[in-house]
Amino acid sequence: MKLTFFLNGREVTCDISPEMTLLTVLKELLHVNSVKRACLQGECGACTVIVDGDAMNSCLILAATVGGKHVETLESLGDSQHMHPLQKAFLDTGAFQCGFCTPGFIMSAKALLDKNPHPTEEEIRYGLSGNLCRCTGYVKPLEAVKAYVAAQSDIKVNEDAVQAVKAAAEQMGGAH
């Protein structure tokens, strides 16, 4: 059967058989390398992708159900030349050892942060609890997400400052 959906913003069409999971389609038909195949049981989160804004285990989704939906993988964020700040945060913190879990972690974090840009520690832990990691003890991945959140709110503060300066300038302009 034919399946059409949006992969990282681009429309793709492929020929699938009905029992294929989204993971199989992404990895084998579309050669998306960031999605990892591990437990195939929905336990580890290495295959996490974002479907219409929700982080999901692609090994549990039948590909046929994503017709017309938006699927995001790590490739949508950036590559080594143009990194998304979230990827940069993971790199700067050194939030991986073997890196097998990392794409899943970043996608889960992205889904969480898209919905809730200022999560608390507890919310971050809950948001990432579907991703298993054997190497890092979760210390640095959590640190990376926290660093990203802190950096984003810094930028926001600066934007506020810019707004304030603009407003002040306008007022002064008005006074002249």
Partner: protein, 343 residues
């Protein structure tokens, strides 16, 4: 009632394969643009061996680490290595690598000495330049030395290094020198034990490794974090026993359909279970190791579980002698103790 306890544990670990010759070999080549290619048989399974090798080579040639490329684990193209085990890669691989780098450096120095009209012995390497110790005016970029040796002196800046760690196999009394060096680790765990349910929670854990010189400090801390959480998992939940034992049989035999089969039957700690882990390394200098480095891998998983068991004893006064310390075992031990005291 929640009872608090604190436990401590330490261990030592050999960082080469005890009682076995476990050589490693490395090929190193400097190209005419000053970039370095390394070929080694080592296998990086995520512990960071490749990065450590690149960092050591960059340090040796005083060039940025981005200029070092490593190609590993391909019997078609890379020289022999014994394997990723016994925490040996940084140590044994690093020594083999530095031996090869030294050969490259010798070639570069003689080319540079020819160009600068000086002696190779007077040259040293700093900031990507070969400089004359006694004449600051004489210096040559390292890539120029590589190009000159390759195209003018007709000598490739290549080296083949090997390293056999020293050990003395144990004699019939069990005496010998199993490993050339050892590294150390210690953990302190703070736990809470609910003496009505037997549930053990690790509140905080400190973990410190003596890794010699930390080649890649961030990765050392990462190894320490990860090993500690593995240790906590083994102490409190993870259970894998692939053998069936017969009460009368002599030895346990492999059970072909043992559990766990997959992660659903094997409770790995998640972000929700992970306590606050404080990892640190204590640097020392190992006379034999590359740049004084020892190792930082496997050992970090060793002391969390005994520290937790000690902390449980501190909290409720019972010894758990079989891991994992699941609530049923802890509760049974507490009940037994109470009965004994009551009697």
């Amino acid at each position: 009632m929640i009872r608090k306890g604190r436990g401590i544990a330490g261990c030592l670990y050999s960082l080469t394969v005890p009682n076995a010759p476990n050589p490693c070999t490395a090929n190193v080549l400097m190209r005419e643009d000053g970039s370095v290619n390394i070929q080694m048989g080592i296998v990086d399974i995520g512990q960071g061996a490749q990065t450590a090798m690149c960092m050591m080579a960059a340090e040796f040639f005083t060039i940025p680490v981005e200029k070092v490329r490593i190609y590993t684990a391909d019997t078609h193209a890379t020289p022999y290595d014994f394997g990723t085990l016994s925490s040996r890669l940084t140590f044994v691989g690093g020594r083999a690598l530095l031996n090869a780098c030294q050969q490259v450096m010798d070639v570069l120095k003689s080319a540079a000495a020819m160009q600068l009209h000086t002696l190779p012995e007077r040259l040293y390497c700093e900031g990507g330049f070969l400089k004359d110790k006694y004449d600051p005016a004489k210096m040559l970029p390292i890539q120029a030395a590589a190009a000159i040796s390759q195209f003018v002196c007709r000598k490739m800046p290549m080296g083949q290094g090997e390293y056999y760690p020293f050990n003395v196999p144990a004699d019939e009394n069990g005496c010998g020198e199993p490993s050339v060096s050892y590294y150390y680790h210690a953990s302190v765990a703070d736990v809470e034990v609910d003496d009505e349910t037997g549930v053990v929670t690790v509140k905080e854990i400190w973990s410190a490794v003596d890794c010699g010189k930390a080649i890649n400090p961030s990765a050392v801390v990462g190894q320490c974090d990860g090993g500690t959480l593995q240790g906590i998992g083994w102490a409190l939940g993870e259970d894998m026993y692939p053998y069936c034992t017969h009460n009368d049989g002599p030895a346990p035999e492999f059970d072909p359909d043992f559990r766990p089969r997959n992660l659903s039957d094997y409770p790995l700690p998640t972000t929700m279970d992970a306590p606050e882990i404080h990892s640190m390394f204590v640097e020392s200098h190992d006379g034999e190791g590359p740049y004084g480095a020892k190792a930082a891998g496997e050992i970090c998983a060793n002391t969390a579980a005994p520290a937790i068991v000690n902390a449980i004893h501190d909290a409720v006064g019972v010894w758990i002698t079989e891991l994992p310390a699941t609530p049923d075992k802890v509760l049974r031990a507490i009940r037994e103790k109470q009965e004994k005291e009551g009697a």
